[in-house]
Amino acid sequence: MVVEPIYLDSPKIPIIPPALRAQVVSYESRNPYQSAIDRLVSRWDCEWFPVSSPLKIPILEERFREEAEIWDRETVHQSSTLKMVLHPSYQKIMAMGPDVVPLLLHDLQENRRSWFWALRHLTDANPVPSEDQGNLDKMIASWIAWGKREGRI
């Protein structure tokens, strides 16, 4: 009798009836390099497409809102941008990377919170003309116009 092998397509081990276990050719033994290749692809995927899945977007938004609230509450009496950007929540938002830019622009428009420093560093852009510096209305308008122009909002 010829035993038909069962090839596993995934490193996850499925529930296999005891009678068929002798036929199983494991995922690793089928291709000894497969696991290494999978790990590499997975790492590249994380590095190149940090928000590749639409499922990650609500998580980012939720995390952003949470950290933004903490930051606003704890720095509301600060006048100095220095202390505001050194706050751990601001640093966490910066670490979210360029994907957070649309959220920053939206929050800037809605709550007028000062995200200019983060926007400037995350986008390498500064659309505010020097004569408008310090004028919150004009600074927000410049950034919103930039966001629309660049397709970020």
Binding site: H77, Q78, S79, S80, R112, G134, L136, M139
Partner: protein, 191 residues
């Protein structure tokens, strides 16, 4: 100009007294709504339409260093900025007829003396005016009232003549004063 936010008087008092414990038991009053459009350094030079700060995003006098978060927040850089609008160093915060005085608060961060806040003396020397971050302006009797973990302590006093204060951004100075009188007329209890 963005819309100011009005907080309940007791809410604002509790929040500010918890952030600045020296205000507890001291005489102080709220003088404006909660507003993000200007900061304490701007309010120090009677400006309430723009933010003054060497952050690289806000207004800072031309040809002065800006954009470097640590070095440009030095007391010397702030002193030079205030010198551009007529202030010069002075010894203390006592009232002098015909002069407008400011006090610069600093804090030591990573070995550098960093400017954190500016308070301005009232016209007749009956206390000091401070814009507390994004929140309200207050008038407080003593400079010690807002010293502490938020702003550090007073490191420098500067003064300019009232004629100079009226000349250099005179229209803004008058507008800011009228706005505040109007605000106080409409909100006699503060907020």
């Amino acid at each position: 100009m963005g819309t100011p936010a009005y907080r309940q008087h007791w809410v604002a008092r509790i929040a500010l007294e918890s952030a600045f414990p020296n205000l507890q038991g001291s005489r102080w009053e709220i003088r404006s709504p909660f507003h993000r459009d200007y900061n304490c350094h701007a309010w120090g030079v009677c400006e309430n339409r723009v933010r003054w700060e060497p952050s690289g995003d806000d207004y800072w006098p031309p040809d002065l260093r800006t954009g470097n978060l640590f070095d440009d927040y030095s007391l010397d850089n702030f002193t030079k900025a205030y010198e551009r609008v007529g202030f010069r160093k002075c010894l203390d915060g006592s009232y002098e007829l015909g002069y407008q005085k400011i006090a610069i608060y600093t804090e030591i961060i990573q070995g550098l003396e960093i400017a954190q806040h500016t308070a301005r003396q009232t016209l007749f020397g009956r206390g000091w005016l401070s814009k507390l971050g994004h929140t309200e302006d207050i008038r407080h009797d003593s400079l010690r009232d807002i010293e502490g973990t938020e702003y550090g302590s007073v490191a420098r006093y500067m003064k300019r003549s009232l004629f100079r204060a009226l000349r250099d951004p005179s229209s803004v100075w008058i507008r800011a004063t009228i706005n505040h009188w109007n605000y106080r007329r409409r909100h006699p209890q503060g907020i």
